[in-house]
Symmetry: C2
Subunit: 148 residues, 2 copies
DNA sequence: CTACATGCAAAGAGTTTGCATCCGC
DNA sequence: GCGGATGCAAACTCTTTGCATGTAG
């Protein structure tokens, strides 16, 4: 289904008349490898590991570029950061474990009933499409709590 | 029910051994008058209108102080800002109209079923307690859309 | 009068921008 | 070779911090 993931975005960039630079490829790869939940800073760090010759400003500019042409999307998390992830995934939301930092995706179907009720009861048309829900994952909630 | 709202926080501040300064009162008033959804910058602007002699750093420090002693709470919104609001309200979430900026509160009861399903299906214990949901309010969604 | 709170200015983080250079096409 | 993309450094925004002064209790 998305086996051609590596070449497809390249084609899109070219098709729209933009240039396919090594930086853009590395940054796109970094976002893809991060599996959702990556901040500009994390992208920068990942890219640095491959090639130290990429500038921070380029990371910001390129993420914005990839967002504009629709290859990545953004979500906003509670600790006041923007995260980027690959576009084109089925609608989903994130569960973030505050203890082990693990990120799980949940289907949008779980959330849709909430949006439906908001629309029915308030007449409010929801645009928010990406929740970051924080808490404890099944594993970590079983651990003994540290004393207060 | 909350008719004594003005004096009660004063008492709390004094009781805990902190000083009741004009700045703290003005900043607390500003948060209360903003009815949820106020950023440090908005608080600063409100306070400035009453007395131009309040410093930005004091606003930050005081909001943090009010948070620590439990008089206000924070939520984090999608445009990457922290907002403050009076503590002690019943659990609720915000609907924010992206057109007219109006903020509506919805009861947590609407959201609880979602959290319940997440817990049942994923074993994930939700801690997030404050959603900011963006979209169009009943009024604004009826307006003709501007051409793209 | 004493210690906590404030004002001021400077320092930090994170992000954006102007401009010369580079390089994809 | 041309024009868009990058690197670099400076600017900008938002927030925090150190220190001297002010003031609530």
């Amino acid at each position: 289904m998305q086996s051609n993931f590596t070449t497809e975005p390249r084609a899109l960039i070219r098709r729209k008349g933009y240039r396919l630079t090594p930086q853009r490829q590395m940054i796109l790869d970094a976002v893809r490898e991060a599996q959702g939940h990556c901040t500009p800073d994390e992208v920068f760090a990942r890219v640095q590991r491959k090639s130290s010759a990429v500038n921070r400003a380029t990371v910001y500019r390129t993420l914005d570029f990839l967002l504009r042409i629709g290859l990545v999307t953004t979500a906003h998390v509670q600790n006041n950061q923007v995260i980027y992830e690959m576009a084109g995934q089925s609608p989903h939301h994130h569960l973030v474990c505050q203890h082990c930092q693990k990120v799980t995706q949940i289907s949008h179907e779980l959330v849709q009933p909430l949006f439906d009720r908001i629309e029915q009861e308030q007449g409010f048309e929801v645009h928010t499409d990406h929740f970051m829900i924080f808490g404890l994952c099944a594993h970590c909630r079983q651990l003994p709590k540290p004393a207060d």
